[in-house]
């Protein structure tokens, strides 16, 4: 399953940190600016089935935007990430969301992530606002902290579960590789993309 991480990244909403926390279980506060896209992969188990999540972590820089668009194709899910301590990253969500919807599969599962939940004292975006935005646009919502690892697992796994359910319901055509899903005999794999609204977009792709 391919999951794309998107988000606007002027100062970094923490998409790459989320990915690193998920794949390597560690936190590294300073990252090089993502060029184009970086990759991560991890096996998870849903419903007794092994699923390989392939995550594409896209560059959040505005100037990379036209490039990151190219990566949306083939993503089964996306994490749209903003930084709860930066209002502007939240304000940019709509643009990134439109981008994601326009350049990807219409069934793509999108999860909204408010990252940096450990910095409660510097919070600029209320949790309720995130929830409201998610409800309005039909997204799943979660607040995470890549630093403390809070909800990071859940964010990725819930996205994968949602994709998995869609596969079971037959919403995703598993025969079409452009959906970012490849089925192995005994397990299904999903690609998920992480998207961050703060300025970075991450796309993820994965196969099972």
């Amino acid at each position: 399953i391919k999951i794309i991480v998107i988000g606007k990244w002027r100062l970094g909403v923490g998409k790459s940190c989320l990915l690193l926390q998920f794949t390597d279980k560690r936190f590294q506060p300073v990252h090089d600016l993502t060029i184009g896209v970086e990759f991560g992969a991890r096996m998870i188990t849903i419903d007794g089935k092994q699923i390989k999540l392939q995550i594409w972590d896209t560059a959040g820089q505005e100037s990379f935007r036209s490039i990151t668009r190219s990566y949306y194709r083939g993503a089964a899910g996306a994490l749209l990430v903003y930084d709860i301590t930066r209002r502007d990253t939240f304000n940019h969500l709509t643009t990134w969301l439109e981008d994601a919807r326009q350049h990807s599969n219409s069934n793509m599962v999108i999860m909204l992530i408010g990252n940096k939940s450990d910095l409660e004292s510097r919070r600029e975006v209320k949790k309720e606002e995130g929830e409201a935005f998610a409800r309005e646009h039909g997204l799943i919502f979660m607040e995470t902290s890549a630093k403390t690892a809070s909800n990071v697992e859940e964010a990725f796994i819930n996205t994968a579960k949602e994709i998995y359910e869609k596969i079971q319901e037959g919403v995703f055509d598993i025969n079409n590789e452009a959906n970012g899903i490849k089925i192995g005999p005994q397990h299904a794999a999903t690609n998920a993309t992480l998207a961050g609204s703060q300025g970075g977009q991450q796309a993820g792709g994965g196969c099972c």
Binding site: F39, S63, I67, S70, N176, G184, P185
Partner: protein, 485 residues
């Protein structure tokens, strides 16, 4: 193990079907002779038949596999890399990714039942072929097969693994039933077929043929530790290649749009510039005579770094250099250990047994060689992908697209030469360490290293070719900016 291999071949064959141009002759020959044995057999079954050949080599491997003699006895064929790879580069581009992912899928799942999409393309092929003699079945039937197969696969779940051939047979039969449902006329052929052979029988036959090939056996034993495709994916080479392909395809369609929008003199001018760019993308042939032996470490690093600075992008080939350096250090260490051992053998004739603990086994050397090749190639993929992203990002226009293309083609040649050097060094290690081994143990390992080095070189050259549309776009953009000023 052998079920795995047999079923892996199913996939391979499926992917070959897609690229008829490259399909090795032996395949065609085997297929037709089998067809002869079991006449009137329905096309879909024939097509799913495994091929009795070595497992788990990506399709690009075939061209070298055809000349194992050359691989074992001399360096002659390295010189022809440039020529043969260049001409096939564009043709393999499309299938490289697929080839590897097939292999990976196979190894990951340890049971490579053809994926539904592959079956769908097969069945469609079959429909086309069968149309002439009136046994065609409707596409609707083919689609029905797909959904049933996926359910069959899911419902059999874990028993598929333990069931091995039986599971395959079950799925095969199920498929036949569905096909038959979709087309009454098909039942006749099906009846005929179940009398002649069952799928498992066919598979077993294939397996036996396969076992006659020692190469295949050794390759299978070492597969786990030294599976190039898996390692290449682990180092994210596949992802970077895929991402690069995406950028390349998008650029390609943009280029087409621009060309369509232009006319007259402007179009001619642009076409001429693009032609120059394309010329820069034709790699000079590597000539053997020129190949400097034993180029120093510093030289490679210096050259790569210089060429990269000519590109004027912010990426640096640091990772590539690190990987390469550590591989060279490993080889150097190996040689040091070896000479120590020789010394001690001279001094005290009986002490050599004690040295075995230090000595690396030929399997270790092989595994390390494959690993290094996969990592080096994956790093090259990453480097090309990042470079493409930065070109598109519009960084630094001081250099012309053609200038960049020239530097990149130098990088490509340098990398391929490096791979060639590596394969020589690794096989020398193998030969030295394996003096006492039997040839049928040692030779497949040596061939394997050459094969994967050659594969690596084709991936790198393919990736380089993917950069052409990207540079075309940046050329067009630079022109537009110039005109606007």
């Amino acid at each position: 193990m052998s079920e795995k291999a047999s079923s892996g071949n199913l996939k391979e064959e499926a992917s070959h079907d897609g690229e008829n141009g490259q399909k090795p002759e032996e395949l065609g020959a085997t297929e037709s002779s089998e067809q002869g044995e079991q006449e009137r057999e329905p096309a879909p079954m024939t097509r799913r038949r495994p091929e009795p050949k070595a497992p788990a080599q990506p399709p690009a491997a075939e061209k070298v596999a055809d000349s194992p003699a050359a691989a074992q006895t001399g360096w002659g064929y390295w010189g022809s890399w440039g020529k043969s790879l260049l001409s096939t580069a564009s043709a393999t581009v499309a299938t490289v990714g697929q080839g590897i992912s097939n292999v990976i899928e196979k190894a990951e799942t340890s049971l490579g039942i053809p994926s539904p999409s592959e079956i769908s393309s097969e069945t469609r092929d079959a429909t086309k072929g069968a149309g002439d003699d009136g046994t065609s079945f409707p596409i609707a039937g083919a689609l029905g097969v797909l959904s049933t197969i996926s359910t069959a696969v899911q419902s059999t779940g874990k028993s598929v693994i333990s069931g091995g051939l039986d599971a395959l047979e079950f799925i095969g039969k199920k498929t036949m039933d569905v096909i038959a449902e979709g087309d009454p006329g098909f039942k006749k052929t099906k009846g005929l077929m179940s009398r002649t052979a069952t799928l498992s029988q066919v598979l077993r036959e294939a397996k036996e043929k396969e076992e006659q090939q020692t190469t295949a056996e050794v390759a299978m034993a070492t597969e786990k530790k030294a599976h190039y495709g898996l390692l290449f994916d682990e180092f994210q080479g596949l992802s970077h290649l895929e991402a690069l392909e995406m950028l390349s395809r998008e650029s390609e369609s943009k280029v087409k749009l621009v060309l369509n929008a232009l006319s007259g003199e402007e179009l001619d001018m642009l076409k001429e510039e693009m032609e120059q760019l394309r010329e820069a993308f034709s790699l000079a042939e590597f000539s053997e005579e020129e190949e400097e032996e034993n180029r120093g470490d510093e030289e490679f690093i210096k050259e790569v770094t210089e060429l990269f600075s000519e590109l004027h992008v912010s990426t640096k080939p640091d990772k590539l250099i690190t990987v390469r350096t550590s591989a060279h250090e490993w080889i150097a260490q190996f040689n040091v250990d070896l000479s120590k051992k020789e010394e001690s053998e001279e001094n005290q004739a009986e002490s050599s047994d004690g040295e075995h603990a230090v000595k690396k086994s030929i399997e270790d050397i092989h595994a390390f060689a494959i690993r290094s090749l996969a990592e080096l190639t994956a790093c090259s993929m990453e480097m090309f992908h990042k470079t493409a992203a930065l070109f598109l990002h519009g960084q630094n226009k001081d250099v012309t697209a053609t200038g960049r293309a020239k530097s990149l083609s130098q990088v490509t040649i340098l990398l391929c030469k490096e791979l060639s050097t590596f394969s020589k060094e690794f096989t020398t290690c193998l030969t030295t360490a394996g003096v006492k081994e039997k040839a049928d143990v040692l030779n497949p390992l040596i061939t394997g290293v050459f094969l994967e080095a050659s594969n690596s070189a084709s991936y790198i050259q393919d990736a380089f070719q993917l950069l052409l549309p990207v540079l075309q776009i940046s050329l067009i953009e630079a022109r537009t900016e110039l005109l606007q000023q």
